[in-house]
């Protein structure tokens, strides 16, 4: 069931297009992330949904009802901010009770519901404290609780973990995802952090320059990017530039003459384009040839050991740099710098992309 639907929503400021015409549907209980760098239009999109920005064109529907012209306070949405936005003059109890008091809920009911959500965020003992007495992570959980408590149709989260340090951020990702799954909340999450998007989302909406580039599950976006931008924005990627060939099954011809086979046919035969393969799919290979694989030969520039994995940086004759990622093995001597290395990967792991 669709909880929120955007139809042809756009926003212009004079000649500047902050958000190009965009369509998006989020299902009930789904966790959808708007992913993009600053200026990508993700915050504009969020603010259009929240009602803080009126769209230039298009409609916003919540639960089938057109809310485009409703003021923010009548949309029954929730929003979590990067700086928590807890009311500093109220206790945690009063902060969480605030949206319920606005809705005229009885005192007994308020007490019960506030204590319930404090249990959900596992902070039942802090009801009488003031926001400034809590840590950043605790404040953000309270901020989420303040949304959950009045059961909004959708909770918008605007870079909620941006102010926290890395370790706490990872804990909070797990925590938020758990709360979201258990309470069946529909969530629209904004972040520029690709790992955050990959680890939490049911679906990711990749945005750049005011446009939605691709919508899909984390593995869709990671393994089947539709553009060079998507391929390079999410995770590490190896890009080989060349010209698409007519070879059966699809292929790309590199400047050096090697042919790289792709996972699928490409409609862009004869055009300049790229082949993309993820570092974890590229292996250091022996001399024995194998069917259905791609092979290139280059010179090892360096090997970087990152604990469990090691990245081998290999430079091809035309200057292209590829990374092959392997599990670190203590029982095997790493290749030497300057050594000629043969890299091999499956055709099925190779994506053809337009330039």
């Amino acid at each position: 069931m669709t909880m929120i639907r955007l139809e042809g929503v756009s926003k212009r400021y004079g000649a500047v297009v902050a958000l190009d015409k965009s369509d998006l549907a989020v299902d009930k209980g789904e966790f959808v992330t708007l992913l993009g760098s600053s200026g990508s239009g993700k915050t504009t999109l969020l603010n259009v949904i929240a009602g803080m920005i009126a769209p230039t064109t298009g409609r916003v529907l919540v639960d089938g009802e057109d809310i485009t012209s409703l003021p923010p306070n009548r949309r029954n949405l929730g929003m979590v901010f990067q700086n928590y936005a807890l009311l500093p003059h109220m206790t945690i109890f009063e902060n969480i009770a605030f949206p319920l008091r606005i809705r005229g809920v009885s005192n007994a009911e308020i007490r019960k519901r506030v204590m319930d959500v404090l249990d959900i965020i596992r902070l039942p003992q802090i009801a009488q404290r003031k926001p400034r007495e809590l840590s950043g992570g605790q404040q953000q959980r309270v901020s989420l609780a303040r949304c959950i408590v009045y059961n909004p149709s959708l909770i918008l989260m605007d870079e909620p973990l941006g102010a926290l340090d890395r370790r706490l951020r990872e804990q909070m990702q797990v925590e938020i995802k758990k709360i979201q799954t258990e309470s069946g909340i529909t969530m629209l999450y904004v972040t520029h952090d690709q790992e955050e998007a990959l680890s939490m989302s049911d679906r990711i909406v990749l945005m750049d320059n005011g446009k939605i580039l691709q919508i899909g599950s984390p593995s869709d976006l990671y393994f089947r990017p539709k553009s060079l931008f998507a391929a390079t924005f999410l995770g590490m990627s190896n890009i080989l530039r060349g010209r698409f060939t007519t070879a059966s099954g699809g292929g790309i011809c590199l400047p050096g003459g090697e042919e790289i086979r792709l996972s699928s046919e490409t409609p862009m035969t004869g055009e300049i384009g790229c082949a993309m393969v993820r570092p974890e799919n590229v292996k250091l290979a022996g001399p024995d040839a194998q069917p259905n694989t791609n092979e290139v030969v280059g010179e090892l520039v360096m090997s970087v050991m990152l604990g469990g994995i090691t990245n081998h940086h290999v430079e091809l004759a035309d200057g292209t740099r590829l990374i092959a990622q392997e599990q670190t093995r203590i029982d095997r001597a790493p290749p030497l710098r300057g050594e000629r290395i043969r890299l091999r990967w499956e055709a099925s792991d190779t994506i053809g992309l337009p330039e």
């Binding site: 929240a50 923010p72 306070n73 009548r74 949405l77 929730g78 936005a85 003059h89 949206p99």
Partner: protein
């Protein structure tokens, strides 16, 4: 040192106020509370004080009611001419008080605003409100806009947000503005002298008159009390500011 040099003549009234007798004399020759007794019980000084007090309270109220929403609008809203309007609202500070007083006097005379206190209150509000606007605008810098946005998305209307979110956060600024506007009115001579009616003087005006005609030593006692009042107000402002 320079500051001490400037402030010492003000403090000289303190020993003078404890001197007995019917004339101001320095150094004091005796110690008594006679001047204070006269002020509180044996003269019409108390009447002037009560008038000043109510004028001060009314000025404070009016300044807050006009100044706080004005400051809110000037900080939050975005409209053409905002800078000019700000300057206009603060202009009574820039104009010499005597000019304001003369303007207010001529204006009230021509439109016929009458009564004992009303003209003084209106005149004082003119010069006190800019201070409320300034303190409230400074206070607004500490009210995170996201708090209002968050409250609005939670379902609160504008009025509710103003009362439940903005005003409580502005409280230290409002308290400061209130105390200052009261004090400005309570101390003010020129406007009160111009628009006041004979026989109904505010305390500072009566003191001014008294210096001209009789130089009563009671003035020393009143001056001491006024200094204490100002000091108390400043300490109160500092205390509320620290509290938040």
């Amino acid at each position: 040192m320079g500051y001490v040099f400037l402030i010492l003549p003000t403090l000289i009234v303190v020993p003078l106020s404890f001197n007995a007798g019917t004339e101001l004399s320095f150094p004091p020759t005796s110690f008594s509370l006679a001047q204070y007794r006269t002020y509180f019980f044996e003269s019409n000084w108390w009447e002037a004080t009560v008038l000043s007090f109510w004028v001060g309270i009314a000025t404070m109220m009016l300044s807050l009611v006009l100044g706080v929403p004005a400051a809110y609008a000037l900080v939050r809203a975005d409209f053409p001419g905002k800078k000019i309007l700000t300057l206009f609202l603060l202009s009574p500070i820039l104009v010499p008080v005597i000019v304001v007083a003369l303007g207010v006097y001529l204006y009230f005379a021509s439109i016929g605003i009458k009564g004992v206190a009303l003209p003084i209150v209106l005149g004082h509000t003119l010069i006190a409100m800019p201070f409320v606007v300034i303190t409230a605008m400074a206070g607004m810098q500490n009210v995170d806009r996201n708090l209002e946005v968050a409250s609005q998305i939670m379902g609160a209307g504008r009025l509710l947000i103003f009362y439940k979110v903005t005003l409580p956060l502005l409280r230290p600024a409002i308290v400061a503005g209130a105390l200052f506007s009261f004090l400005i009115s309570f101390d003010e001579v020129v406007i009160a002298y111009f628009v006041g009616r004979a026989g109904f003087s505010t305390l500072p005006v009566k003191m001014f008159g008294s210096i001209q005609w009789e130089i009563s030593p009671v003035i020393a006692a009143i001056s001491t009390l006024l200094t204490l009042l100002s000091l108390g107000v400043c300490l109160l402002v500092a205390a509320t500011a620290k509290d938040e």
